[in-house]
Symmetry: C2
Subunit: 108 residues, 2 copies
DNA sequence: AGTATTGCTACAAAATATGTAGTGGTATGG
DNA sequence: CCATACCACTACATATTTTGTAGCAATACT
């Protein structure tokens, strides 16, 4: 399980379980936030930065590279966009949106 | 959206969107791995540590506190266990497991 | 009483993220 | 053509998070 993450292998990948590699990738700061936003359509670097509450350009750049290397996003003429694979992944995590609302009520 | 995360407010919570708070929580190191493991049944601190590839006790302890504060896990006589809420959440992320296998083939 | 295991805490070092400034590239206007 | 203005990044110092190792108090087992 050698995912093409720049630098060292993915955290959690030693077990060889793909799910662990995926959870590691998604468990990095803003990774899921980026995917969530891109489902609304392609976006520019700047707009992603704003959407992710002013994530630093350094981190955004790194995250985008990783997601690109894992074929979840790609650059298009309109900016960054989800790949077919990325869309599939989004559709799997989409249900979290409505669940989160119910969950959040426990803290009001 | 003031989730009871020890210390500062959840990253991503400023928008007031519960999904962002949830993605932040789940986007911390090993958070989803812990949930994934606990679905197989209650577990002790030590076994969780082994399962999470020797996550440092400091981080494991912090993460367990956060997940407890957000009512996703709880301490039982048998150790740490998912709450009703935590189980619901797991069932939402469970499909990632089979998807990850297909996705991983792109890197072989 | 002695040894083992467990659930943690302490703390220094390493890795990661942030915040701000700046660079080079392309578009727009005068 | 030159200035101004964005945009997509890179550089780099600082802050925060995670790791790794050691150790301690509590319970269990011999």
């Amino acid at each position: 399980m050698a995912l093409p993450i720049p630098g060292k292998p993915v955290r959690g990948s030693k077990t060889g379980q793909p799910i662990m590699a995926l959870l590691d990738l998604l468990g990095r700061s803003w990774a899921m936030g980026i995917i969530w936003h891109l489902y609304t359509g392609p976006s520019t670097f700047r707009r992603l930065q704003e959407y992710c509450e002013s994530i630093s350009p350094t981190t955004l750049n790194k995250r985008l590279k990783e997601l690109k290397d894992c074929h979840l996003i790609e650059r298009t003429l309109e900016g960054y966009a989800l790949t077919k694979s990325g869309e599939e992944l989004f559709e799997l995590i989409e249900p979290l949106g409505s669940w989160a609302k119910i969950w959040a009520k426990n803290f009001k």
